[in-house]
């Protein structure tokens, strides 16, 4: 691993309006430490029944490609064009107007023109023109066409794994060209040769064989939960039990596995549990389908289907009525936009109805899965929660819209409504960096790996810069997000760029604010930090 | 083909729009109206090709020289002298506005402002 430059040095010399002298087709990808992710361990690919290239790294001068690699790739490209209208269309209709150019967080943090979404797509578009089109072959570079070479392949590896599929560019594109779609499909195509990231594939294998990305075995999940419950007991004086694999529960609750195990997700998990206890929800979690997130989505769409098939088998087995999903970004993009097509119809489930308020979630009448923020917002709107927002007075909060839930689902108001009810100090970041224009954490879609730290910190810079603004001007010290990956990646990002800000989930704050029946007077929040005015009691 | 209904509707709309000239003429194809030329006079003030293309520039020039500079006569390329007057010179031979001017103008959506001040020969006859 390389040494990461200091924050005030990282972006030195960055100029968004200067371009290289050389044509982009002549610039080779820079595989220096900190700027690329390690290639997948072949054993992982073998376990998952996929082709592999043996032991290799992208830095190798010559990649151990099979003889027929080119034919296989071209065949895969044609296949995707036949199966995905989006891909075929996006390859055809770009006019290179450049509206997307400075919308990508990776471009804003690196100034590398290949991080302009238009050029990222051009990396494959040029090959389609150069390999499949008569005029493309005839005119070559002036028409933006080039043949597929090993250099191109290296470039793909670099730049399709330097995109977090956040879709910010697609908001601004006059034709709605979605680079996320291109990136997802290109990674899928690279998979056909066995080219993948180690860090993105290992969680996938865990999730496939064990049930969740972190590889937590069922007893570990149980132990962890019990450990968190003992914290709750200490903080609130309540002994709460979390139902595990309980048959006949009304609701199956599925959340990213990081919430069971990793700081700061565990505080969000404690928030969920307090909420469910507060309203007396009849729910269960599953140790078989113990992962709401889906790393298949960043690797190969077929894997994605394998992983989440379990949720629906589990829903059938446990005979639940409907499914409640925890706070997670790509989980919800995948659930919301893909599940209905992949796993439907869901006749064995019932249209979700809140047992507390009686609200029927009409917008989920087909898929039967509800986002926890929708569920909680409904509870608060019906006055079913006893809340003391002053218990969050020790923090000043801003809300980070996660890319996937924003631009792939459209959940903007629910979490804000909850936040305004559970805390008194809520500040928005600058207008052009939130909601549908939100910036990615810079490490989503399987790039959350240590060897990639320089690019991650550059990619996360626009987000961090907006946080820094509200931190300096309004004293914001807590960045709230409804995404498990955000809770991990933003923590690293804040540590680097804005060290005084911590990252939390919405339901962690809900947990702080909930006045539980029979609880003792709280002196600390769920992280054992003293509440405002309680500093001396602790 | 997927989403066939919508795609076919789209193709139809595309054809309706871009083949508009064909549809607007559909079922009523006929010869274009021909301007009626003077029977006696065979030669205009300048040669015909020039007059066809540039008569509006030519008349505009007459207007300017006559109204602004007060000149009355125009000498053509052959040295012949004409009095610069739409009503008394041009319309003397082209004695029917409707059959000469309007046929082309209407057909090509040209709205000259000559007749805001001038009277067409047909109008003049009515008053005589």
């Amino acid at each position: 691993m390389s040494k990461l430059p200091k924050p005030d040095q990282l972006l030195q010399g960055l100029d968004l309006h200067r371009t290289p002298e050389k044509h982009w087709m002549d610039i080779k990808p820079d595989f220096s430490p900190g700027k690329y992710c390690y290639a997948v361990d072949p054993q992982v690919m073998i376990d998952m029944g996929r082709p592999n290239l043996g032991k290799w790294q992208p830095t190798d001068e010559k990649w151990p490609l099979p003889e027929d690699w080119k034919e296989r790739l071209l065949k895969a490209i044609r296949d995707r064009m036949e199966r995905f209208r989006s891909f075929k269309l996006f390859m055809d209709i770009c006019v290179r107007c450049g509206a997307c150019a400075d919308k990508c967080h990776f471009f804003l943090g690196t100034g590398d023109p290949k991080n302009m979404p238009v050029l990222r797509a051009e990396l494959i578009r040029s090959v389609i023109k150069g390999e499949f089109s008569f005029f493309g072959r005839l005119f070559g570079r002036v028409a933006g066409a080039r043949p597929l070479t090993e250099e191109v392949l290296k470039e793909w590896y670099m730049y399709f794994y330097q995109c977090t599929a956040c879709r910010r560019c697609s908001v601004f594109c006059p034709y709605g060209i979605d680079t996320a779609e291109v990136t997802i499909i290109m990674r899928d195509i690279l998979h056909e040769l066995g080219i993948a990231l180690d860090w993105a594939m290992k969680p996938l294998r865990n999730s496939h064989f064990i049930g969740n990305h972190l590889g937590l075995q069922p007893h570990t999940i149980k132990e962890n939960i019990e450990f968190l419950m003992s914290d709750i007991a200490e903080i609130t004086g309540l002994n709460i039990e979390v139902p595990i694999n309980k048959k006949g529960a009304e609701v199956l609750f599925v959340t990213p596995s990081a919430d069971f195990f990793a700081d700061p997700g565990i505080y969000t998990f404690m928030g969920y549990v307090l909420l469910f206890h507060h309203i007396g929800l009849d729910y269960t979690i599953s140790t078989y389908a113990s992962e709401g997130g889906n790393f298949g989505f960043f690797n190969s769409i077929e894997f994605a289907k394998k992983l989440h098939s379990k949720i629906y088998e589990e829903a059938k087995r446990l005979k639940v009525k409907w499914i409640l999903g925890g706070e997670c970004g790509h989980q919800w993009r995948f659930w919301h936009q893909y599940h209905g097509t992949m796993f439907g119809p869901f006749d064995y489930l019932e249209v979700p109805k809140s047992p507390i308020t009686g609200t029927v979630f009409e917008h989920a009448k087909y898929h039967k899965a509800v986002h926890i923020c929708e569920f909680t917002a409904d509870l608060i709107a019906h006055n079913k929660l006893k809340l003391d927002p002053s218990r969050n007075d020790h923090i000043v909060v801003t809300f980070h819209d996660s890319c996937n839930t924003s631009r792939g689902m459209g959940i903007f108001e629910e979490p804000r409504f909850i936040l305004r009810n559970v805390c008194n100090n809520f500040v928005e970041m600058p207008e052009n960096t939130i909601r549908e224009k939100t910036f990615c954490c810079g490490s989503g879609s399987g790039l959350n790996t240590d060897e990639y730290m320089e690019i991650r910190m550059r990619g996360g810079f626009p987000r961090a810069n907006a946080v820094e603004f509200v931190h300096k001007n309004y004293g914001v010290n807590t960045l709230v997000a409804i995404c498990a990956i955000d809770r991990a990646t933003l923590t690293a990002l804040m540590k680097y760029w804005v060290p005084d800000v911590v990252v939390a989930g919405v339901h962690e704050l809900v947990g702080n604010a909930l006045i539980m029946e029979g609880e003792k007077e709280r002196t600390t929040d769920l992280r054992y930090r003293p509440l405002k005015g309680m500093e001396e009691e602790v | 083909m997927y989403n066939a209904n919508k795609v076919i509707i789209g193709i139809i709309v595309f054809l309706i729009f871009f083949a508009m000239p064909f549809w607007l003429n559909f079922g009523k194809v006929e010869a274009l109206p021909k301007p009626e030329l003077p029977k006696e006079e065979k030669k205009c003030i300048e040669d015909t090709d020039y007059m066809k293309a540039y008569h509006m520039k030519f008349l505009d020039e007459w207007r300017k020289t006559k109204v602004r500079e007060g000149k009355v006569y125009y000498i053509n390329k052959e040295g012949k002298i004409y009095k610069m007057s739409l009503q008394r010179t041009c319309m003397k031979c082209h004695d029917n506005k409707e059959k000469f001017c309007d046929r082309c103008h209407k057909n090509l959506v040209v709205q000259p402002d000559c007749w805001k001040c001038h009277l067409a020969p047909e109008e003049v006859k009515k008053w005589q």
Binding site: L16, R83, R85, S86, L89, D92, I93, V95, C97, G98, A99, A101, D102, F139, V142, A143, S170, P174, Y175, G176, H208, F209, G211, P218, H219, E223, K305, K306, S309, K310, E313, R317, H336, Q337, G340, T341, H363, K365, Y366, H367, R407, G410, I411, E414, N432, E436, K437, P462, N465 | Y2, V7, F22, L24, N25, V29, E30, Y54, C104, L108, V109
Partner: protein, 337 residues
């Protein structure tokens, strides 16, 4: 380099009718045959492209949601940015296609010291709107050459377009606006470093081609006048499939204009200009955000092999029992059958 290449191609395109008609006298070829061929390519080419896109299914409903989803009844959902019904999608598409709504959002990112700031950047939108709408009006105005009795809406549009009555014949407002729009779009590609870097010859060429078409048209209207009656005889004949070369003089400039228009028509289906019809197919814009309300079918969806509960329970039986997590024999028995 890319610009020079486009200029050379354009110069060749202008030379072709100059030599073809001026030197070789191939009037019929350039007045009748080539326009027919070009427009046949335009129509069949575009329909082919449309059908080609339609032959690929859109497997998943991947709306880009740029606004609040429809969820709880008391939360106002964004009808345009997160449409939940068909008519809301139509509305979104209308704004997208006719008013370039997404482009209107455009921002420009810049460093202010160490702070990233985002300013509004609507120039691209303005240039694009000027160009596209002027082009539309100009095309509608040209109907006067193709229809015997020109419909009143065309007359009205022409009247409004020449509202200022500047000169004889009066100048059209859209003629100036289209040049302003195109000029801006071209200048932008030359001046803005980022856009310049990503432009190909195939980006300059259509701009230059359309500018040349507009310029030859304006020249013919204002300065180098052709015989309009003769032109209408030709164009009306083409539109009604009774093509004949008229007696009058069509003028060299007209031949160039017509040849450039034919080139544009023939080039259209095989270039980025297909965005005109492609935009209607864009799955991130033309699909409702109703994924959890109704089912979207993927025609090639196939079953996958996954680790079933029975397999999983078998693997973890020991730890499950030890941790006191219930074992489900009932389900595994059912599953085995």
């Amino acid at each position: 380099m890319n610009l020079i290449f486009s200029l050379i191609v354009l110069a060749i395109l202008i030379l072709i009718p100059l030599i073809g008609v001026g030197v070789l006298g191939l009037s019929s070829l350039f007045a009748i045959f080539i326009p027919y061929l070009a427009f046949a390519i335009f129509f069949f080419g575009l329909i082919y492209r449309i059908i080609d896109w339609a032959r690929s299914p859109q497997p998943y409903k991947i709306t880009t949601t740029s606004g609040q989803q429809k969820s709880l009844s008391w939360i106002k959902h964004s009808r345009l940015e997160s449409p939940a019904s068909s008519w809301e999608v139509y509305l979104r598409m209308f704004f997208e296609v006719f008013l370039f709504r997404s482009l209107f959002r455009n921002l420009r990112a810049d460093f202010d010291g160490k702070r990233l700031i985002y300013g509004s950047a609507k120039w691209l939108w303005l240039g694009a709107i000027l160009f596209h709408f002027s082009f539309l009006v100009i095309m509608i105005r040209h109907l006067r050459f193709f229809v015997n009795e020109v419909p009143s809406f065309v007359q009205k549009i022409s009247a409004v377009d020449s509202f200022f009555q500047l000169g004889v014949p009066p100048i059209y407002i859209t003629d100036i606006l289209i040049l302003a729009g195109l000029g801006f779009l071209l200048l932008r590609r030359l001046v803005d470093a980022k856009v310049n870097y990503l432009s190909y010859a195939s980006d300059y060429f259509p701009l230059l081609l359309i500018i040349s078409i507009a310029l030859t048209g304006i020249l013919m209207r204002l300065y180098v006048k052709p015989d309009l009656y003769a032109i209408k005889q030709l164009t009306y004949g083409l539109a009604t499939f009774n093509p004949a070369l008229p007696k009058g003089n069509l003028s060299m400039l007209f031949y160039i204009h017509l040849f450039l228009v034919s080139s544009l028509a023939a080039y259209f289906p095989f270039s980025k200009l297909v965005h005109m019809v492609g935009v209607f197919f864009s799955p991130t814009r033309n699909m409702p955000n109703d994924n959890r309300m109704s089912r979207h079918i993927n025609p090639w969806e196939y079953p996958v092999k996954y680790v079933t509960y029975a397999e999983w329970q078998e693997k973890f039986r020991d730890v499950l029992e030890e941790a006191g997590i219930p074992i489900d024999e009932e389900w595994t028995n059912v599953a085995q059958k």
